[in-house]
């Protein structure tokens, strides 16, 4: 094995790839060759580091220097300064947002400081297409431990002791789920990994699959052994081509090494895993619809019971867990259930990955211990609100979740506390809204999503979400009536109570929670015909404040419909009947002379 004096880790996660990491990698390869040190320095394309906001990310080891927003032009400098002369390129280091202090090391950055990376333990540190790197980080050791020294019952007992709960959204006890499937009689059972991640903004499963696919395979094999399955499926959405590619590589490498397939590690235990690509339906993340889709049927949920543990894929007992859940599994057997359970709260153990999006300074993926407060996630890890605006709400749990206002930010995050607040853990999507977000509009966005993704099977979801959306559109258009609020609440209640699957039952959550915490915004839309955040264009009116206007004419030139007129150096006027409220004039005006409201 060749030894290198330095390793350069280039992030190959989707976020960094889209900000240009592939070009960086190429430039690095060329530059190393040019400066004749390509035999001394190794380039590793890793999975996601989570700090996508700062991408493309390049880390140089052994120092662990964290370079962010690296451009192709920076490469010669990194190579000649850092790799040749050993001098850190200061200007490319991460700058702390307030103090402007440059932070050289990965671990010192606030974004990472409060994180505890378990599911993401290898993401960004190893080459996901090389099984040896996974093995070097104790990969497949947990599987070996389980196969050589534990009975299926012991595996299940340990899982129950660890207290892991489903990371896909339901939060059901993984140990109990395994126990049900294990107790279900039958010679043929299936293990299924739900990788049909579809919540808007959520990409934790994608990062795990792209950055550390073997951890998922290992988790699945341990679960397969526990329940007695000899075959399994990974249901991956087709929109994740990189994840699918890396999984295929991982499966092939694991099979070649005897870690997957027949007689694994000579233990007598066999399990084959297949990949099934989804066809783009959000509802296929629901387990019964997912199984229907694997079987080749239309992805529509079916009533439970019977639960998959009893009658699952092809009517055989099956166990379905989510990607992040499986990624946690090896750690539990490697370090012990008690150690795993020592992190988190009483009823929610371990860590959870959140996808931070919205009006935050630091967007990206963050894995935190359960019990951390939302405030810590948003303000410490997330770096607070962009442009020093005021925090308004955080939407948590994806389209099935709810919006949580400022006063509940100190609630410790776990499955039960979030449900009590009218939101839910969901897959861990976290969308932060500031004062410029209209909560009615936000509710409309999420409902539009669920309404489009409804499979159409049950009446409450198919027809009910459509009518709720129409009412919200009406309110945003300034045509709301006072009864609309009662109708939304009543419809929401019936849909929650009667819809067939979790998609329908949780579809009203974004509306019900915004009605609970931001009712005044709904009322302002309905009674005063005003959108307090200035988002709903139908209710906006643009005005020119004469005393501020210098008559520069910039607004008039940019207006696409000729609504602004006036003489040079004199206050202009705006014809509201022509104005299409596009906002171009406000952006252009340097004197704050145009206001909307």
């Amino acid at each position: 094995m060749q030894l290198y004096r330095a390793h350069v880790l280039v992030c190959g996660g989707t976020g960094c790839v889209s900000s240009g990491s592939k070009k960086i990698e190429q430039a690095l390869t060329d530059e190393l060759a040019k400066q004749n040190i390509d035999k001394e320095v190794k380039i590793v394309e890793t999975g996601c580091h989570g700090f996508c906001e700062m991408g493309p990310i390049v880390i140089v080891y052994p120092e662990g220097t964290f370079y962010c927003r690296v451009a192709v032009e920076d490469i010669p400098e990194i190579v000649s300064e850092h790799l040749v002369k050993g001098r850190i390129v200061q200007r490319l280091l991460f700058k702390a947002p307030v103090t402007e202090e440059q932070v050289p090391s990965y671990k010192e950055i606030a974004f990472y400081k409060k994180q505890q990376r378990v599911a993401l333990r290898n993401c960004g540190h190893i080459d996901p297409e090389d099984i040896k790197e996974y093995i070097a980080r104790d990969g497949y050791e947990a599987l070996a431990k389980v196969l050589t020294g534990m009975t299926p019952n012991e595996v299940i007992e340990d899982m129950k002791k660890a207290g892991l709960r489903g990371r896909g959204g339901g939060g059901f006890s993984t140990g109990l789920k395994w126990e049900f499937a294990s107790k279900s009689p039958g010679p043929k059972k299936y293990i299924i990994c739900n990788a049909d991640e579809g919540d808007p903004g959520a990409f934790m499963d994608r990062s795990v699959l792209e950055g550390d696919p073997h951890s998922v395979l290992e988790g699945m094999l341990i679960a397969a052994f526990a329940i007695g399955a000899d075959e399994g499926y990974l249901y991956v959405r087709a929109e994740y081509p990189l994840a699918i590619k890396r999984l295929k590589v991982a499966i092939a490498q694991a099979e070649e090494m005897g870690l997957l397939g027949e007689n694994i590690m000579g233990s007598g235990f066999s399990c084959r895993l297949h990949i099934k690509e989804g066809a783009g339906a959000f509802v296929c993340g629901e387990e019964t619809a997912l199984m229907a889709s694997i079987e080749g049927s239309r992805g529509m949920p079916n009533p439970r019971p019977p639960f998959p543990a009893v009658k699952g894929l092809w009517e055989k007992p099956s166990n379905i867990n989510n990607v992040e859940t499986f990624a946690n599994v090896p750690v539990i057997y490697l370090h012990g259930a008690d150690k795993y359970a020592s992190v988190g709260t009483e009823k929610s153990k371990g860590t959870k990955v959140f996808a931070l999006t919205g009006k935050l300074r630091n967007t990206g993926l963050a894995e935190v211990p359960m019990g951390i407060t939302l405030r810590e996630i948003i303000f410490d890890i997330g770096g607070g609100i962009m442009d020093d605006k005021k925090f308004k709400a955080v939407q948590i749990g994806g389209p099935s979740g709810g919006c949580i206002p400022e006063q509940h930010l100190d609630t410790p995050v776990d499955y039960d506390s979030l449900t009590a607040l009218g939101a839910m853990m969901g897959s861990g999507g976290l969308v932060v809204m500031d004062e410029t977000s209209c909560m009615v509009d936000v509710a409309k966005f999420f409902l539009n999503f669920t309404q489009k993704e409804s499979c159409g099977k049950c009446i409450p979801c198919r027809e009910g979400t459509k009518r709720m959306l129409e009412i919200l559109e009406k309110i945003c258009d300034g045509n709301g009536v006072p009864e609309d609020i009662t109708t939304l609440e009543q419809l929401g209640k019936v849909i929650k109570n009667t819809a067939l699957c979790a998609l329908g039952q949780s579809a009203p959550n974004p509306i019900l929670s915004t009605l609970r915490y931001f009712r005044d915004e709904f009322e302002a839309h309905i009674y005063q015909k005003k959108c307090p955040a200035g988002v709903c264009t139908a209710m906006l009116e643009y005005k020119i404040v004469a005393e501020n206007c210098k008559g520069c004419g910039a607004c008039a030139r940019v207006c696409p419909v000729g609504a602004i007129t006036g003489e040079k150096k004199e206050a202009h006027t705006l014809d509201t009947s022509k104005c299409i409220k596009c906002g171009s004039c406000i952006e252009k005006c340097k004197f704050n002379a145009i206001v909307k409201g």
Partner: protein
């Protein structure tokens, strides 16, 4: 093993594995259903049959919820009625308001339940489905704007008829039942429809109706006469729908022992011969090259006379009998007796062997 539960305060004992819906029916309590059909698989889709069960989350659908010892069920609680009214309201909001001319008027489940729960009209104003009506079939008229997506047609075609002509297409609010590639039902090379009309027999609303019955009669105007189909020897039963002494249609009679509600295209739709002007209503005897009307006595006497004459002149082996697949077993048995005993020949065969 039997299980005792309480439904609306009434104790009911049923075998284990019974659904709440079936247990309620046994107790004489009717729970509304759209998608449920005892002959078909249970999708639990329409949610109109939801009930309140003590200790259970949400309102579970009674059609797919199995009874448990000591279960306490309320089938008409305030929450249940509110849910049913809302579901009906939502269905009406996306339904054409043309009951006056709808063929299903008087026999429509949606109208029946709207009446039962006092939902006069939809309270939601918004988009409505606007699908073109499929008139391509010779016998069926499909208006998917009236469809409530219960899926019974999909399941009856797949599970009973074995044709799988229909399935759901698109999703959410735009979901629609259609043959493959959304072709017309009448494009039989593509749709593979055999026009048996089993879908019409299970449709709870006016989304699929018999073309030849449209505008002919209201359900309460017709007298239903149960009869046996004359087309083949299967012995299917159905109801002739008779108005003013004329057959205006055929509908399934679920109590038919041989066929239940299922019929073939001929039995369900091939009844126009009954009142055809071309139909033979009296025997004809050819005299001097012309057919002349005769009485039944005269005709039978003439046939018997000629048969005897042939037998005497040319012997039994000169005679042979061909019977029809349209005859019943009993009729074929009698023909067999006639051939062997009266004619004295074994020359008897059946058209189905030709």
């Amino acid at each position: 093993m039997s299980i005792t539960l309480t439904i609306n305060g009434q104790k009911v004992t049923v075998p284990a594995g019974t659904t709440v819906l079936e247990a309620a029916a046994q107790a004489g309590i009717d729970i509304p259903t759209f998608c449920h059909d005892p002959e078909l698989s249970k999708p639990g889709a329409c949610r109109i049959c939801v009930v309140e069960i003590k200790g259970m989350r949400n309102l579970p659908p009674s059609c797919v919820t199995t009874v448990v010892e000591g279960m306490e069920v309320e089938t008409e609680s305030a929450d249940v009625v509110e849910a049913r009214r809302t579901i009906l309201d939502l269905l009406l909001a996306n339904h054409p308001e043309d009951c006056m001319t709808c063929q299903k008027f008087g026999d429509c489940k949606l109208a029946e339940y709207a009446y039962r729960y006092g939902v006069r009209k939809a309270s939601f104003v918004g988009d409505k489905s606007d699908f073109p009506v499929d008139e391509s079939s010779a016998v069926l008229y499909r208006d998917m704007n009236k469809c409530i997506l219960c899926g019974k047609c999909v399941r009856v075609c797949a599970e009973i008829v074995g044709r799988s002509v229909y399935d759901f297409t698109s999703r959410g609010f735009t979901t629609k039942v259609a043959p493959a590639l959304d072709v017309g039902l009448g494009e039989i090379d593509e749709s593979k429809c055999v026009s048996c009309g089993s879908c019409v027999a299970v449709c709870p609303v006016g989304a699929i109706v018999e073309k030849n019955m449209m505008g002919k009669a209201r359900p309460w105007e017709v007298k239903k006469v149960k009869t046996t189909c004359p087309y083949c020897g299967c012995g299917c039963n159905f109801d002739l729908n008779v108005k003013d002494g004329k057959v205006v249609g055929v509908t399934s009679n679920p109590s038919s022992e041989v066929n239940g509600r299922h019929l073939c295209v001929k039995g369900r739709f091939g009844y126009d011969f009954i009142h055809s002007s071309d139909r033979l209503t009296r025997p004809l005897i050819k005299k001097d090259g012309e057919f002349v009307e005769a009485s039944w006595d005269e005709a039978i006497r003439y046939v018997a006379y000629r048969m005897k004459e042939i037998k005497e002149k040319n012997g039994s082996e000169a005679m042979g009998v061909l019977t029809s697949a349209r005859c019943t077993n009993e009729e074929n048995y009698l023909m067999n007796k006639m051939a062997r005993v009266a004619f004295g020949t074994n020359n008897i065969d059946h058209c189905a062997r030709l």
